[in-house]
Each structure stands twice: as structure tokens, then as C-alpha cells.
């Protein structure tokens, strides 16, 4: 009688779970829509950004030559000496020379003036790609006569036409073409500093090349196909670089361009990943809802002889298939994003991007979608193991609430590990991925704790004097089967992620807009020769403009640190002074006191050297000294245009670079540089645009070598640029917002499931409809409100940390914005809660129970 069971399901069909999954899904597809939406939005953002990044990198590879326009270039603030030129010329068949500098130009036909980048060109540059002009032949033709080609936006802005003239310094050039595109330069680049090309043979006659002018001399080379670019080539490059010349090759240009835009795409990827993480929450909560609704069916199937693993496999198949569908939809949307992104990024990316579908991103997107679905689905699905067949004959026998056991723990750990791996893949930085994963898990635990505390606290402080409606709504926060913890965690996390996006944007805008505030300087005149200083000062005052600063500037180079030159200092392991400190040209000022943007942080500042035999104690910017590995007492030897000046670091200053002031890395005391060749900078504020235009015209006419930076114009251009970048970020942020909304809806549907029976019972006992509306509204008001507060607190904490440690800016939350986010989240929670409960309230209790359970 006590025989060992030998029953086997020998003929059990392997395809049966698949068939069951299909059959069961027919009436459940609507319920899985939220799940599909969660997956597809997250995957869409990720596929779109990844494809865009890869496309961009491929294009940079393909267009590397035309980014530089030559095989290599050598540039510096001093002309390339013939000795070096000849050495480089041995490797090349063609060479071109370019002298570029900032200068004011005047359009005599309209009287308009503007600071532009003048490029005086000689030779056939570019050898790869082209300077695109209208008419096309103008890019070559202008080099033959006293003609210029001018940025098209500049012509438009000053209403100038082909055939008009543009005055550069002392010479007027006929405009023979409008410049549409320059190798390696974005639209934004040319908006900030529009370009005017002139033939180099007329440069001298413009009179703009004066001592102290910020001029860059670039020589472009095209390799001789026969050239050997190994031994001797490397020596020549090394020699040039040791003399401070910058040798730029195609590879370097490619790396530089790639690095710059990789940072942008990394940021966008982080936003996309945020959308995906929210999607994961959506997946977890929508599958939880789904599994919950399947418990009675599973109990019956278990009665009919189905194993727990078979039941789980049916729903796992559904989850995987719907994950696949969501991923495919996501990939399609992602491809559309990818097609659209080059259109909106072309303003600030100097590369023509022809969108090409990047299949690996799609494969990874689909795979990621399925893995997310299965992993996050399993967290709930394993709960089905605990469904007893007994619940088929005893309703309410047990629920599928996820109870902590080893398997759930193992899946939880796998989920965390998966998030870490995905972040690592996305960010290509193991440590940063670990930090981000840690922050994420920490936030979830914190929100979980807040939810628990609310539930616990509400039970103890709920005043019995409250009306029935409020008591009922609030007590739902701690009663059995409450969803307080789940909702506070999900709402809190999505609010935190979304609010952080807004705060960060606000932070960046704050950084820029500070410069334009009232009463701050907005116009900078530079390259003023000493002989012009007094006259220009007088002219400024004649225009009723304040001279807010008048600063002398002396250029110099660093020769030695503590008696060691560039190579010795770098090779000395105790010094380690980086090479750039010796290569750069220093623009230094001298004065007897510190200004408002400077704070002394170390040492003493003595602003006067009265005896020429005294030691000279200079002041360095704190950050610069840190990067240079120098400290108080170190000796620095400068070459001040031929004269050697030995100095000692006397103090370090903290400089607020955001102020529109002339700030200097190196500050000399008075009594040292007064007789050195120098130029001056004058800063003023012009409130009216018509005065600004008249003043600029007068300056350009009388002092053609003086350049004017109109900060209002720069700010306007920057705002445009930031607007375009912000649009891309907001566009990607929309996906996070969309997924956040889906998460919120599924979280609220979760609680609807819990509240339905109770509300039906209340209706049966005679509760009026409006009482039920109020009870539901009260419950969701508290849940949404607390989720929002918790999320906002997290967002403010993270934004402050980022502001302090990354952007070096104190984040001051905009309380109107905070209140707006709080209201939006809370009101949305209440509305979604009420919307999802409408059936329970509108229809008869019997009807509801028949349809819903």
C-alpha cells in the first residue's frame, strides 16, 4: 500500500507552456500594456543614444581628415621659424599658412561693427574637405585679390551683400563670397566667433599685427606620399613641441573631437539609462500587478496537477515575449530618435552625420529588454511558488506578497549585478558604475525606510477626531496589504530622478545667467596699446560710460621652476611640473591689491616692490598652483619678452571665474612690470544697444586694432547654444518623464487591487459615491505627497552634491520649482488614483467583483 510514487509526466509536451502562455495572454494583453510601455520607452532612449554615439564616432573616423583639412598642422603664438618649417616641409608636398586673430570689423555700407575671427590665409588649404562658400569658387578666388569671404550669418546680421566691402583694420576688402562651412567647426563655433577670411599677403597692410596682439600662426601640411614618418619625423615633432609649438595630426584631432562629444553622449546616455531604470521599476510593478491577478488561476491549475515551475514558466514566457515586443517597439522608436538627433545636434557638432542604423545597439536593446523583463519579472513570479492549491477552495488563503527567501535574495542580487554591468557597459567606467549603482540602491533603501516610517507613524498619530472620510483614507496607509512602502519608493525614485534633471538644468542656466545681471560689466575692450590708453578712456567717458576696470597685461613665458627647466622639472619625481606649464603663454597683470573676485587662501600678498633688488613675491591661482605642483616659497623664472624675471610664490588666491572681470592665474606686485611691453584691457557697462553700436563703431574707426567683446551678444549666443543643448537633454528627459508616469500608474494600479474589495464592501454598506471619492483622494494625496517630498529631498541632496563637487556651484533650490514639482506629482497621483478607481465607484459592487476578480 505504501508504494513509492513513480508517476511521471512522460508525454508532457514541452511546447504546452508556450501554448498556455499564448492562450492566457489573450485576455491579459491590456494589463500588459503598461509593462510594454515601460520597456519600450527605456529601450528607445538607450537605443537612440547609443546608435547616435556610434554613428557620431564612425563619422568622426571617416571625416577625420576634413576635420583638420590637412595631414598635420603646427601652430603657436609665434610664427614657425624657417628652420622648423623646412624640416617639416621635407615630409610634405604642400603647405599653407594661416594667421588668425580676433579683431573688430566694420561693414561700411551699414556701419555695423563686430568682433570676428580674422583668418589670413595663404596656400591651397584645405587639402581635405572644403571651405564651403556661396558661390563655391569664392573659397579659392578670394586669395588672388583684395577680397574677403565672410560668414553667412554675419552678412545676414549686418545686412551686407556680395560686392559690399568689409573693413579689417586699415584695409577694406571686397566681399566675394559667404562662408557656409569650415572644416572642423560647428555652427555654434562660428556664431560665437564668426570668421572672415582674407588673403595673407594683405595682412601687414591692415596694421593689426602689433606687439601684444593675440595672434595664432598655423601652418598646414599635406604629407608627401613618399615621406617616411618614422624616425626623423618624430624627432622634428618632439623638437617643435619642446619649443612650445603644437603639432596637430589627424589622429589627435579625431581623439579631441571624439572626446568632447563622448562626454556629451555619456551625459545623454546617463539620462537614457535613467529612463531605462525607471522602466525597470515599471516592469517590476506592472508584473507584480499582473502576477497578483493570476493567483486564483494558478491555484486552480495547481489543483489540476500543475507544478509550480510549470506555472512560473507560463508567465515567464509571457513576460519574455512581451518584453521582446516592448524592446522591438523601443528599438523602432530608438531608431526614429537616432534619425532625428543629428538634425537637432548639428548646430554644435562639427560633423555631418548621415544616420545609419547601428544594428549592435538594436541587438543589445532587444537583449537588454528581455533580460530586464525576465529578471524584474522573476522577482514577482517566484511568488507563485508559494501559491497553495488550497486557496482554490479557501479564498484569501494566502497572497503572493513577495516574502524574503533565499531565491528572492538571489534574484535581487542578480538584478543589482545586472544594473551594475549595464551601467559599466554604458559608461565604460567600472568605478563610476559602482558609485551610481550604490547611490541607486542607497536611494531605494532610504525611500523604503521613509515608506515604513510613514506607515508606522500614521498608525500612532492618526487623530481620532478626524472625519470618517479622512480617517479611512489615512488609515489605508498602515492597514494590512497597504501599498505605502511600494508607492513611496517608486513615486519617490521617479520624482527624484526627474526633479534632478530639472535642478541640474537650472543649475547650468544659473551659471551662465549670472554674468548678465544688472550693473555687472558687459563690454570688454582689449589689445589697447599703452599709447591709446588715455584717449580710449576719454572716449569711453565721453559716451557717458563707466570705466569699471583698466588693467595692464604683460605676456611672458615660464622658463624654470625651482631652477629646473621643462624636461628637468618633469623628470624630477619630487617636482613633476607638467609640460603645459612651460608651453603656454602667460598673460599677467600687476597691481597693489586684490580685487573682489579674489580671496587670499594661503601666504601673504605684498602689492608693492619698492627696491629693484628685493625678491619678487607673486600670487598664483590656488587651482593652477595645485595643477602645477608648486607651493608657497617655490621659485619661478619668467621670460618677459626677453628679460628674465626671477619670482617666488608668495601667496595663493581663490578666484571666482564667473565674475566678468579680468582674472589672472599669475599676479605681479607693482614696481616690476611697469616698463615691460604691455597692452591694456578696459571694462565697462553699456545698457542700451544703440549706444553700444555707436560706441563700437567709434572705437573701430579710431582704434582699429582694439577688439571689443560684447558680452550681451556672447550671452545671447550662449543662450541659443544652451537652448539647443537643453532641447536635446529635455528631449531625452521626456523619455524619463514618460516612464516615470508609467511607473506611477502601475504603482497606483497596485494599490487599486488592494483597495477594490474594501471599496466595494463600503459601497455595499451604504457609502455614498462622493465619500468614496474623498477616501480615495485622501489616500493618494498622502501617498503622492510623501513620495514627492521624499523624491524632492533626494533630488536636492544629489544636486547639491553634484553642484559642490562637480560644478563647483552652490545649489540653491528654486522653491517655486520645488512646489510645482510637489504639486504635479501629488495631483497626478490623486488624479491617476481616482481615474483608476472610477469603475469601482461608478458600477454596481456585484458588477465590479464579477469583472475585476
Amino acid at each position: 500500500m505504501d508504494k513509492k510514487i513513480t508517476i511521471q509526466q512522460e508525454k508532457y509536451s514541452r511546447s504546452w507552456p508556450l501554448r498556455m502562455a499564448w492562450r492566457d495572454s489573450r485576455k491579459s494583453r491590456g494589463k500588459l500594456m503598461l509593462f510594454i510601455a515601460s520597456i519600450s520607452l527605456g529601450i528607445a532612449a538607450l537605443v537612440g543614444i547609443t546608435s547616435f554615439r556610434e554613428n557620431l564616432m564612425d563619422e568622426i573616423d571617416d571625416q577625420a581628415r576634413s576635420l583638420l583639412g590637412a595631414d598635420f598642422s603646427v601652430d603657436d603664438r609665434t610664427p614657425l621659424p624657417d628652420s622648423l618649417f623646412n624640416k617639416f616641409a621635407k615630409f610634405s608636398s604642400l603647405q599653407s599658412k594661416e594667421t588668425s586673430f580676433s579683431s573688430m570689423v566694420l561693414f561700411p555700407s551699414t556701419g555695423g561693427t563686430r568682433l570676428v575671427q580674422v583668418r589670413a590665409l595663404e596656400g591651397d588649404y584645405p587639402y581635405y574637405g572644403s571651405i564651403e562658400t556661396d558661390p563655391p569658387e569664392a573659397s579659392k578666388a578670394f586669395r588672388q585679390s583684395q577680397s574677403a569671404i565672410v560668414d553667412e550669418k554675419l552678412l545676414l546680421q549686418y545686412n551686407a551683400e556680395l560686392g559690399d566691402s568689409v573693413r579689417v583694420g586699415n584695409l577694406a576688402f571686397e566681399i566675394v563670397g559667404e562662408v557656409k562651412k569650415i572644416p572642423g567647426q560647428s555652427d555654434v563655433g562660428t556664431s560665437v566667433a564668426p570668421v572672415v577670411y582674407i588673403p595673407r599677403q594683405f595682412l601687414e597692410e591692415t596694421g593689426l599685427i602689433k606687439k601684444g596682439s593675440r595672434i595664432r600662426y598655423t601652418t598646414y601640411f599635406q604629407f608627401d606620399p613618399e615621406a617616411d614618418t618614422t624616425g626623423q619625423w618624430s624627432n622634428t615633432v618632439e623638437q617643435s613641441e619642446s619649443l612650445g609649438y603644437d603639432v596637430d595630426t589627424i589622429e589627435e584631432k579625431k581623439d579631441d573631437t571624439g572626446r568632447a562629444f563622448r562626454d556629451l553622449s555619456s551625459f545623454l546616455e546617463l539620462i537614457a539609462f535613467t529612463a531605462l531604470l525607471l522602466g525597470c521599476l515599471g516592469v517590476a510593478s506592472s508584473i507584480y500587478v499582473y502576477v497578483k491577478s493570476k493567483v486564483p488561476s494558478v491555484a486552480v491549475l495547481r489543483c489540476l496537477g500543475m507544478k509550480a515551475s510549470q506555472a512560473i514558466s507560463i508567465y515567464l514566457i509571457q513576460v519574455a515575449i512581451f518584453g521582446l515586443i516592448g524592446s522591438v517597439i523601443g528599438c523602432i522608436i530608438g531608431v526614429v530618435i537616432h534619425l532625428y538627433l543629428p538634425e537637432i545636434t548639428k548646430a554644435f557638432i562639427p560633423i555631418d552625420i548621415t544616420p545609419v542604423i547601428y544594428w549592435p545597439a538594436i541587438y543589445v536593446g532587444v537583449l537588454l529588454g528581455i533580460i530586464i523583463s525576465v529578471l524584474f519579472g522573476l522577482l514577482s513570479l517566484v511568488g507563485l511558488r508559494k501559491v497553495s492549491p488550497l486557496s482554490a477552495i479557501r479564498s484569501g488563503f494566502e497572497s503572493t506578497k513577495i516574502k524574503w527567501d533565499k531565491l528572492v535574495g538571489l534574484i535581487g542580487l542578480t538584478v543589482v549585478f545586472f544594473i551594475y554591468l549595464a551601467l559599466w557597459w554604458q559608461l565604460s567606467d567600472a568605478f563610476f558604475a559602482l558609485v551610481y549603482t550604490g547611490i541607486l540602491i542607497g536611494s531605494i533603501l532610504l525611500l523604503f525606510g521613509i515608506g515604513k516610517a510613514l506607515s508606522w507613524g500614521m498608525k500612532r498619530v492618526l487623530p481620532s477626531s478626524l472625519s470618517f472620510v479622512w480617517r479611512q483614507g489615512m488609515s489605508n496607509l498602515y492597514r494590512p496589504n497597504n501599498q505605502t512602502v511600494v508607492l513611496v519608493t517608486t513615486l519617490g525614485l521617479s520624482t527624484a530622478l526627474l526633479a534632478m534633471l530639472y535642478f541640474m538644468q537650472d543649475l547650468l542656466v544659473q551659471r551662465v545667467s549670472m554674468a548678465g545681471e544688472n550693473e555687472r560689466p558687459n563690454t570688454v575692450l582689449f589689445d589697447i596699446q599703452s599709447s591709446q590708453k588715455e584717449e580710449l578712456r576719454q572716449m569711453t567717458q565721453d559716451f557717458d560710460l563707466p570705466v569699471m576696470q583698466d588693467v595692464p597685461v604683460v605676456t611672458m613665458r615660464l622658463l624654470e621652476v625651482n631652477g629646473k627647466n621643462k624636461n628637468e622639472a618633469w623628470n624630477d619625481s619630487t617636482e613633476r611640473v607638467p609640460g603645459w606649464a612651460f608651453n603656454r603663454e602667460y598673460r599677467v597683470t600687476y597691481r597693489d591689491s586684490l580685487i573682489t573676485s579674489e580671496t587670499l587662501v594661503k601666504g601673504n600678498w605684498n602689492g608693492q616692490v619698492s627696491n629693484p633688488a628685493d625678491s619678487i613675491f607673486i600670487s598664483l591661482s590656488e587651482g593652477y598652483a595645485e595643477n602645477m605642483n608648486v607651493d608657497i616659497g617655490d621659485e619661478l623664472l619668467f621670460n618677459v619678452q626677453g628679460a628674465l624675471v626671477k619670482t617666488y610664490v608668495g601667496s595663493l588666491r581663490d578666484i571666482d571665474w564667473r565674475r566678468v572681470q579680468t582674472n589672472f592665474l599669475v599676479l605681479f606686485p607693482e614696481g616690476v612690470l611697469e616698463r615691460a611691453p604691455q597692452f591694456h584691457v578696459l571694462i565697462t557697462r553699456i545698457n542700451r544697444t544703440d549706444v553700444s553700436a555707436r560706441f563700437q563703431q567709434a572705437v573701430v574707426r579710431q582704434f582699429p586694432n582694439v577688439s571689443i567683446i560684447d558680452l550681451e551678444l556672447i550671452l545671447k549666443t550662449l543662450e541659443e547654444v544652451l537652448g539647443k543643448v537643453a532641447f536635446v537633454i529635455q528631449f531625452m528627459g521626456l523619455f524619463s518623464i514618460g516612464t516615470g508616469l508609467v511607473v506611477m500608474i502601475s504603482a497606483i494600479i497596485l494599490s487599486r487591487f488592494q483597495r477594490m474589495q474594501e471599496n466595494v464592501l463600503l459601497r455595499t454598506l451604504g457609502a455614498a459615491k462622493n465619500q468614496l471619492w474623498k477616501i480615495i483622494a485622501a489616500e493618494y494625496f498622502f501617498l503622492g505627497g510623501l513620495g514627492a517630498i521624499a523624491g524632492l529631498a533626494l533630488a536636492m541632496l544629489f544636486t547639491s552634491l553634484l553642484g559642490t563637487f562637480v560644478f563647483e556651484f552652490t545649489f540653491i533650490p528654486n522653491f517655486l520649482q520645488v512646489i510645482a514639482i510637489f504639486l504635479v506629482v501629488t495631483i497626478s497621483s490623486v488624479l491617476v488614483g481616482l481615474f483608476n478607481s472610477r469603475n469601482i465607484i461608478r458600477h454596481s459592487p456585484l458588477e465590479v467583483l464579477r469583472n475585476e476578480l
Binding site: 500500500m1 510514487i5 509526466q9 501554448r19 485576455k27 486552480v300 489543483c303 509550480a308 492549491p389 477552495i393
Partner: protein, 222 residues
């Protein structure tokens, strides 16, 4: 006639918080193959618990249950599932059809779980036998209570069970429909020669069976 179900000294104790509740106390009985039996008793007397233990839906706290010569006590949950699939049929008070499957698919489930060929044909025959040949593709919500219970009866017999457990099979139906369902259950049971165990409050229904167990306070009263 050999015994298909043997219950020996069965007790069931539940832990409710810090309180121990003895639902069943030393129950003994045997059911012979092909016979019908009713378990009757007031609410809370332990009828449904006993049915659950007999059908392998739960484990006993003490004693033993042997079904078709298989001792259920030591079986794992998955082994119990196999026993139920192979030997047991169920009819529930609230029908318990899978809402996402059609009537036909509901009947096919036990057969498909066993991998029996021709599950569709067998199920169609059974649905025709219970008078639902034109309702096969309807979902449970599209059927009346009586129709749903007829589908449940067809499903219960679909895997040719050795024993069929019915928990208040007419409890959710009006008198007339209940009577029709009751007749159908007994008719098919007779045709198939299945052992039938019914839990019921309905003394008239209980009187139609070969054997009656009366439970009171977790013990057999007769």
C-alpha cells in the same frame, strides 16, 4: 471492493498567531473504489480542510492519507501535483474556471498537462455530454453560473480521475440549476465509474451517496 481512499488517525492543526487551532482530530474512514461519499457538517466543522487533505492539497499534521495506494504524507508539493493530475478531479463551489481560457481550453488543461493526444476531441465530447456544444469558445464571464459549473464538471472528468472531489458543487446555484448540475454529476460519475467525495450542507444531496461522514468540531460525529 478495494479502498481507493484511506484516512487514518488524521489530525490537522493550524497556527494562528500564538494560538493553536485544531481543525481535525483523529479522523478515520475508508472509501471503496467506485463508491460515493458525502462529508457533511456545520460551518467550521472542518469539511473543506478534510477534503483538502484527502485530495493532496495540503499536508496532515498527524496520521496518514492514502490515495489509490499512494501515501500522500511524504510527497513533495510537485509529487502531490502529479498525483492530483493523474488520479483526482475537482468540482468547486465557485466553479474556479481559468478566466482567460475558453470553456474548451479549460477542459483541455488536465489532459494537456498529462500530454494526452487528442485532448481537443475528448474535451469537445465532454462538453457536448454536459450540453455545451455551442458554448465551447465562450469565456467563463460569458457563461451563466450553471453553465460554468457544467464546464467545471466536464473538466473534472476529462482526465478520467480515479476519484472526484466536489466542494459544495451546487452551493452557488439556484435550486433548479443546482438540481440539474447535481443530476449531471451523478450521471457522469456513474458512467465513468469514478469514486465521488462531496462536501455539502445539503442533506438531500448527501442522502444520494453511498456513505456519509458527519463532522462536528473537527471530529466524526457518527
Amino acid at each position: 471492493m478495494s479502498s481507493i481512499l484511506s484516512v487514518e488517525q488524521v489530525s490537522k492543526i493550524y497556527q494562528s498567531g500564538s494560538r493553536t487551532v485544531q481543525v481535525l482530530d483523529e479522523i478515520n474512514f475508508d472509501v471503496s473504489e467506485g463508491k460515493t461519499m458525502a462529508i457533511v457538517g456545520p460551518s467550521g466543522s472542518g469539511k473543506t480542510t478534510l477534503l483538502g487533505l484527502c485530495a493532496g492539497l495540503d499536508h496532515v499534521s498527524d496520521g496518514s492519507v492514502t490515495l489509490n495506494n499512494v501515501l500522500l504524507n511524504k510527497l513533495s508539493e510537485d509529487e502531490l501535483a502529479l498525483v492530483r493530475n493523474k488520479y483526482v478531479g475537482f468540482v468547486f463551489q465557485n466553479f474556479q474556471l481559468i478566466p482567460t481560457l475558453t470553456a474548451l481550453e479549460n477542459v483541455m488543461v488536465p489532459l494537456e498537462l498529462r500530454g494526452i493526444d487528442g485532448a481537443k476531441g475528448i474535451s469537445e465530447d465532454l462538453l457536448t455530454r454536459v450540453g455545451l456544444e455551442d458554448r465551447m469558445d465562450h469565456y467563463p464571464t460569458q457563461l451563466s453560473g450553471g453553465e460554468q459549473q457544467r464546464v467545471a464538471i466536464a473538466r473534472a472528468f476529462s482526465n478520467d480521475p480515479k476519484i472526484l472531489f466536489a466542494d459544495e458543487p451546487t452551493g452557488n446555484l439556484d435550486e433548479e440549476t443546482g438540481k440539474a448540475v447535481e443530476d449531471l454529476l451523478f450521471e457522469i460519475n456513474k458512467e465513468k465509474g469514478t469514486t465521488l467525495v462531496i462536501v455539502t450542507h445539503d442533506i438531500d444531496l448527501a442522502n444520494k451517496t453511498d456513505q456519509i461522514i458527519r463532522l462536528k468540531g473537527g471530529k466524526i460525529a457518527n
